[in-house]
Amino acid sequence: ETLFHSRDRSDLEPSPLRRAKPIADLPAAQRFLSKYGWAEAPHESRAPSPEGSPRAALAEAVRRFQKVNALPTSGELDAATLAAMNRPRCGLPDTRPPLQAVGPAPGTPTTPAARRP
């Protein structure tokens, strides 16, 4: 039987064509870059980025994305870059963000339990 997720089965109804929300602004682009591994999500950053301020980190992430997509590496979310983000694609990440130096706070004991799996 076909699965449904709404009690009234309204999600099975033929729906008008649902379109993905275009990536057209900074927050959407940030979500894109985070989702596909080009940048850390802002709330996941635990230490200062090796690239400096969040703005600089974003620009660097955009540049990395632009480079592999054969776009001018301006670091700016220009029309061509946004168009590349809106292309049909697989939902898996492409890469992972640059490693960040995460160390214990001063005075924090390092135990096996404290280490991340």
């Binding site: 039987e1 076909t2 699965l3 997720h5 999600d11 729906s15 064509l17 649902r18 379109r19 993905a20 929300k21 275009p22 990536i23 596909y36 591994g37 592999v68 997509n69 590349a84 809106n86 292309r87 049909p88 694609r89 697989c90 939902g91 898996l92 990440p93 492409d94 890469t95 992972r96 799996p117």
Partner: protein
């Protein structure tokens, strides 16, 4: 959300699997199924299943794994489950976004989901998203491949419209073989098939094709492209008419100024093949029917044979059985007096212990390499030729170089699951 992220991070490039888990399937045959609750509303069910069957077969043509559709086993035992869904779908934590952008996702060693808000189309269509291409990509993830931006790779994250010929290129093949190894295995016989064609000027051109036979199927090997023909293997009974449909022992092409005869051998019999009509002769010029007994057509030659090859320069056929070789003079129609001899005597190893010794699978003269090769198991030994002796006069005549791996010289000669042989 955290669980979904862990799943996706497991597929990042150059990343070890989570918690030291496996990077690849360890089974040789994987089962798959299109979920009944996950059938697309856009294509006929049979068409969806055919496309997935083809997608899996394309991978099995280049790796030592094959795939079987399983419609009956309990769902939990099926290795790879595929399904279509919209938005929140199939109990999956990762919600599809509607038409555009994300079209599918997959889990390493796991399942594949397709966004049914996308316009998936069959391979013959030049619009929409080719379901075949997307499926091949997602299966790549299931097998353990990450995204790459290399031009021509099927693992590019973005969809590119399907070219007229969509196949797995050299780098994709090597990437998957890095995880699963190359295809290996013994062959029944290997030979070059000569054909004469006339070019646009009416001149006769001689071309050849290389064939590998194993069990009941065969591959045509494209030497210039270092791979088998797309879509191979094919069943012997489909491509060769009138000869045994499996386990051929040997093939010989007697080619002189006056003779052009091609023979297949199996058991104590042999068949002559008519190249012009692409079928075995039913009878010879005297009206005697084929197949004939080897003992009658080649007196002094035993059967069953391991293999044979024709030496054009000497005009001998070398027949091999166990540890012996028989040199048959095609002009006198008899075995030379000094034969049979030990294979190790006639074809001595340059390194004495590095030799097949007996039960050679196939003796193959390659026009590409202008050399004879002995195949046994996964290995081959190259026979010293004139050019080798010009460069290294100390090499013994007809000596055997140390063994090498067949899969490192003839690439991607891979089995597929029997259920996909007729695609």
């Amino acid at each position: 959300r955290a669980r979904a992220k862990r799943f996706l991070q497991a597929l990042l490039p150059e990343d070890p699997p989570p918690a030291g888990g496996p990077r690849a399937f360890s089974k040789k045959t994987l089962t798959w199924r299109l979920l009944g609750e996950g059938v697309s509303s856009q294509l006929a069910l049979d068409e969806q299943r055919y496309i997935f069957r083809l997608a899996f077969r394309m991978w099995s043509e280049v790796m030592p794994l094959d795939f079987q559709e399983d419609l009956t086993a309990p769902g939990a035992t099926v290795d790879i489950k595929l399904g279509f869904g919209r938005g929140r779908h199939l109990g999956c934590p990762w919600v599809f976004d509607g038409s555009g952008q994300e079209f599918a996702h997959a889990w390493r060693l796991g399942d594949i989901h397709f966004d049914d808000d996308e316009h998936f189309t069959p391979p013959t269509s030049d619009s929409g998203l080719s379901l075949l291409k997307v499926a091949v990509h997602e299966i790549g993830h299931v097998l353990g491949l990450p995204h790459t931006y290399r031009t021509g790779s099927i693992m590019q994250p973005n969809y590119t419209p399907q070219e007229p010929v969509f196949e797995l290129d050299w780098s994709d093949r090597k990437a998957i073989q890095k995880l699963y190894g190359s295809c290996e295995g013994s062959f029944d016989t290997v030979f070059d098939w000569i054909r004469k064609e006339r070019n646009q000027y009416g001149e006769v051109m001689v071309r050849f094709s290389t064939y590998f036979f194993r069990n009941s199927w065969y591959w045509l090997y494209e030497n210039r492209n270092n791979r088998t023909r797309y879509g191979d293997p094919i069943q012997i009974l489909v491509g060769w008419h009138g000869i045994p449909t499996q386990n051929i022992d040997a093939f010989v092409h007697i080619w002189t100024w006056r003779r052009d005869e091609r023979y297949f051998f199996k058991g104590n019999q042999y068949w002559r093949y008519d190249s012009d009509n692409d079928q075995a002769h039913t009878e010879d010029e005297q009206g005697k029917s084929y197949p004939k007994l080897i003992s009658e057509g080649f007196p002094g030659v035993p059967s069953p044979l391991d293999t044979a090859f024709y030496d054009r320069r000497k005009q001998f056929i070398y027949f091999f059985q166990e540890s012996f070789v028989f040199a048959f003079d095609v002009n006198r129609n008899q075995v030379l007096d000094s034969y049979p001899r030990k294979i190790t005597q006639v074809f001595p190893g340059i390194e004495p212990q590095n030799h097949p010794f007996r039960n050679i699978d196939s003796a193959y003269f390659s026009y590409t390499h202008n050399s004879v090769f002995f195949f046994k198991g996964k290995a081959y030994w190259k026979v010293v030729n004139d050019k080798d002796r010009q460069q290294h006069p100390w090499l013994p005549s007809n000596g055997l170089f140390p063994k090498q791996s067949i899969s490192e010289k003839w690439f991607d000669v891979c089995d597929v699951h029997a259920s996909t042989l007729n695609m």
